[in-house]
C-alpha cells in the first residue's frame, strides 16, 4: 500500500503521522508552499484524506481530487466534511466514535466541577504564594445541580450517567423525544435552559445546530447559569456569550471549543468564572492512540477491500 497517496489535512498526532508514513505515501498538506498547485500536480496520486475537527474535506478539496476514495476523520464530528458531496461521488467516510466518548464526557464533568468549585482559581490563588490564614475561597456546590443536556447521543448519555452519580437531576433537548429515556425532555433549548443550572452542548454541529446557544438561550439561563461546551465552537454565538460573561448576565462557562480555534476571545482571559481549554476533549494518550488505530484500520480495510470499521458514508 506504500504507493497509495494519503493527504493529511493538518498536524494532529505524531503516532498517527508515523503510522501513515510507514504504510502509505503520505502528503502533509500544511507543509506545501502552494496548496492549489500542489493539488493540481498531485491530483491523480491522492486516494485518501485524513482530517480532524480542524480540517477535513470540503467540496473544493473533493472536487480537486478525482481519485479520492475515502475520507477518514480523526474525530467523531463530521462538520468539516462535505458529506453530501462524498455520497454523490461514492467516497467513503469514516470517523472515530465510541473510543472517545468517555474522555469527552469526563471532561464535561471536569469542566462543571472546575467552574462551580473554582478549581482553576483556587489553584492560581495557592500558586501565587498569597494564601494566608483567614483567607477563604467560597464556591458553589455541584452535587444536586440540575444538568440540561443538548443532544442525548453517546456523549450526552455518558455525561448524564456521570452526573447522576452526583445526584444531579438530568433533563435534555433532542431533535425528537426519546420515550425509552427516563430523563425529562424539553421541546426547545430555551425551555431547557430556563429549567437547568448547568447547560451542556453535546450534539453534532449541523446547519440546524449552528448558534444553537444564542442570546435568547443565554438570557433564559440567567445570571447563575453555567454553560459547558464540549461540542463545536460554532454551536455558540461567541460574541453574545462573551458579552454575557463580561457583563455578568451569565454565571460562568467551561469551554473546550471556540468559533475560530486556536483564537480565543481575550475578554475571557481575566474572568475567574470561566475555564478555557484548547480543544482537548479526546486529548488523552490512551484515546488518541485508539483513534489513530481506528483511522489506520479503516484505511487498511478500505484498500484491502474489507468492510470498514466505523463507516459513516
Amino acid at each position: 500500500m506504500e504507493s497509495i497517496g494519503v493527504l493529511l489535512a493538518c498536524p494532529m498526532n505524531s503516532y498517527l503521522e508515523q503510522q501513515l508514513d510507514k504504510r502509505f505515501k503520505l502528503y502533509r498538506f500544511w507543509t506545501v508552499p502552494d496548496k492549489s498547485s500542489f493539488l493540481a500536480s498531485h491530483k491523480d496520486s491522492i486516494q485518501a484524506v485524513v482530517g480532524n475537527a480542524a480540517a477535513g474535506a470540503d467540496a473544493e478539496l473533493i472536487e480537486a481530487l478525482p481519485k479520492l476514495e475515502i475520507v477518514a476523520s480523526f474525530s467523531v464530528g463530521l462538520d468539516k466534511i462535505d458529506l453530501t458531496k462524498c455520497k454523490e461521488k461514492g467516497i467513503r467516510v469514516t470517523n472515530t466514535p465510541d473510543v472517545l466518548t468517555e474522555d469527552v464526557a469526563d471532561l464535561a464533568i471536569g469542566l462543571m466541577l472546575a467552574v462551580l468549585r473554582k478549581l482553576c482559581e483556587s489553584d492560581r490563588y495557592v500558586r501565587s504564594g498569597k494564601w494566608k490564614r483567614g483567607d477563604y475561597v467560597l464556591t458553589t456546590k455541584f452535587t444536586g445541580k440540575k444538568v440540561g443536556i443538548i443532544g442525548l447521543g453517546r456523549i450526552g448519555m455518558a455525561i448524564a450517567k456521570r452526573a447522576e452519580a452526583f445526584s444531579c437531576p438530568i433533563s435534555y433537548y433532542s431533535r425528537t423525544e426519546k420515550p425509552e429515556i427516563k430523563y425529562k425532555y424539553y421541546p426547545s433549548v430555551v425551555e431547557l435552559a430556563a429549567h437547568c443550572d448547568i447547560l451542556v452542548v453535546a450534539c453534532p454541529l449541523t446547519k440546524e445546530t449552528h448558534h444553537i446557544i444564542n442570546r435568547e438561550v443565554i438570557n433564559a439561563m440567567g445570571p447563575k447559569g453555567v454553560l459547558i461546551n464540549i461540542g463545536r465552537g460554532p454551536h455558540v454565538d461567541e460574541p453574545e456569550l462573551v458579552s454575557a460573561l463580561v457583563e455578568r448576565r451569565l454565571g460562568g462557562a467551561g469551554l473546550d471549543v471556540f468559533e475560530n480555534e486556536p483564537y480565543v476571545p481575550e475578554e475571557l482571559f481575566g474572568l475567574d468564572n470561566v475555564v478555557l481549554l484548547p480543544h482537548v476533549g479526546s486529548g488523552t494518550v490512551e484515546t488518541r492512540q485508539a483513534m489513530a488505530d481506528l483511522v489506520i484500520g479503516n484505511l487498511e480495510a478500505h484498500f484491502q477491500k474489507k468492510p470498514l470499521l466505523t463507516p459513516v458514508v
Binding site: L113, T143, R162
Partner: protein, 342 residues
C-alpha cells in the same frame, strides 16, 4: 434579629457558648451566622485578657464550646472549664479536639455528621480529573495566549478504566467511590477494618493498595496512626503513573517525600486541598503543572455553610433543651487521638 429585642435581664439568662477564635463562617458571613434566640456567644477573641485568664474568669458560665478546625480544644482548655458539657465543631475533622479528655470528663462532642461528604467527594473527583486531564494547567495555557502562539497542548491521561484506591472508606470515601463508578473506574480501598457489604477490593495496608492502583484518594481522619501514613514507600509503590489526591488532612502524607517524588517524577501528579503547615505550601509545587492545589476549601460552598448553620444551631439548641444531639460523635471507639492540631 431576636437578640436585640430582648431586655438586659433575659439576655443574661441565656446560656453561654464559648468561641475561642472566629470560625470561617464568621469571617465570610459575619458573626451573627450561628445566631439563636436560645443561647448567646462568649467570644474569647474579643477580650484583651490572655486566654487562660479569660477562661478562669468565665469558667462557671461555660457549658458549651463552639470550635472550628483552626481553634483547637486541648486538654488544658478543657480543664479550665469545669461546667463544659458539649463541644460542637464546625469542621469535618476532629483531630483538633482532645477527644480522650472529652470522654474522660463526660463531655459530649457534636460533629458535622455527613453534611460535608458530597462537597468533599466532589472536590476529590474534581481534583482527580483536573490532574489527569490537565484542566488547570491548560486553562493557564489558554489564558496566557499560548494556544494560538505555541499550538497543540500536551495530552492528558484517561480516567476510565483506572484503578482508584480510597484510603478511608467512611462517608466521604463512599461518596467518592459512588461518583467514580460510572467513569469506569475500579475501586479498591484500605480502611481500619474490612467492610463486609462493600463491593470494592480491600487491601490490608496502604502500600499494597498503592501498588495496585493508579490513583490514591485520601479520605481518612488524621489520627496518631494515620500521621504520615502515605510514606515514601507508599508513594514509590504508587509509582510513575500514579496520582495522589488529598482532601483530608495534610499530615496524612509525608509532605517532604511527596514534594521530592513530584519534583523527580516518581509519581505522575497530585491534587492537594490540604498541607502539613497551612497556609504555607512548599514552593517547589508552584512550578509544577502536574499539581493542582486549593486552599483547604473542599467544603467551602454556600450550600454547605447553610447546612452547617442549621446543624450547629440545632445541636446547641438540643443540648440546652436536654434533647438528643443531631450529630453526636461516638467517643467509646476512639482511635488514638492525641488532640494534635492539624
Amino acid at each position: 434579629m431576636a437578640a436585640e429585642d430582648q431586655s438586659q435581664t433575659s439576655q443574661s439568662d441565656l446560656p453561654y457558648v464559648l468561641i475561642l477564635k472566629p470560625p470561617p463562617s464568621f469571617v465570610l458571613f459575619g458573626d451573627h451566622f450561628f445566631h439563636s434566640p436560645n443561647f448567646q456567644y462568649l467570644k474569647a477573641y474579643e477580650s484583651p485578657l490572655p486566654l487562660p485568664h479569660f477562661l478562669h474568669t468565665h469558667a462557671q458560665s461555660v457549658q458549651a464550646l463552639l470550635s472550628s478546625g483552626g481553634a483547637p480544644v486541648t486538654a488544658d482548655t478543657i480543664r479550665l472549664l469545669p461546667r463544659l458539657g458539649l463541644v460542637v465543631t464546625t469542621s469535618q475533622g476532629l483531630n483538633h479536639i482532645d477527644l480522650s479528655e472529652c470522654r474522660r470528663r463526660g463531655i459530649a462532642v457534636a460533629g458535622a455528621g455527613t453534611i460535608f461528604s458530597a462537597d468533599c467527594a466532589d472536590s476529590a473527583v474534581g481534583l482527580l480529573i483536573d490532574v489527569l486531564r490537565k484542566i488547570s494547567a491548560a486553562n493557564r495555557y489558554v489564558k496566557q495566549g499560548l494556544w494560538s502562539s505555541q499550538g497543540i497542548y500536551p495530552l492528558g491521561y484517561k480516567l476510565g478504566g483506572k484503578h482508584v484506591g480510597i484510603v478511608g472508606l467512611g462517608s466521604i470515601g463512599t461518596e467518592v467511590a459512588k461518583r467514580l463508578e460510572p467513569f469506569g473506574c475500579s475501586i479498591s480501598y484500605n480502611s481500619r477494618s474490612k467492610k463486609p457489604l462493600v463491593p470494592y477490593t480491600f487491601y490490608p495496608n496502604v502500600v499494597e493498595l498503592a501498588a495496585n492502583c493508579d490513583a490514591l484518594i485520601i479520605c481518612c481522619a488524621l489520627t496518631d496512626e494515620t500521621h504520615h501514613l502515605i510514606s515514601k514507600e507508599a508513594l514509590l509503590a504508587l509509582g510513575k503513573d500514579g496520582v495522589i489526591i488529598n482532601i483530608a488532612r495534610g499530615p496524612i502524607i509525608d509532605e517532604k517525600e511527596l514534594v521530592h517524588c513530584l519534583v523527580k517524577g516518581e509519581i505522575r501528579g497530585a491534587g492537594l486541598d490540604v498541607f502539613e503547615h497551612e497556609p504555607d505550601v512548599p514552593v517547589e509545587l508552584f512550578a509544577l503543572d502536574n499539581v493542582v492545589m486549593s486552599p483547604h476549601n473542599a467544603v467551602f460552598t454556600r450550600e454547605s455553610f447553610d447546612d452547617l448553620c442549621k446543624l450547629v444551631v440545632g445541636n446547641l439548641e438540643a443540648f440546652f433543651s436536654n434533647e438528643p444531639l443531631l450529630t453526636p460523635v461516638a467517643l467509646d471507639d476512639l482511635p488514638h487521638f492525641s488532640g494534635r492540631k492539624d
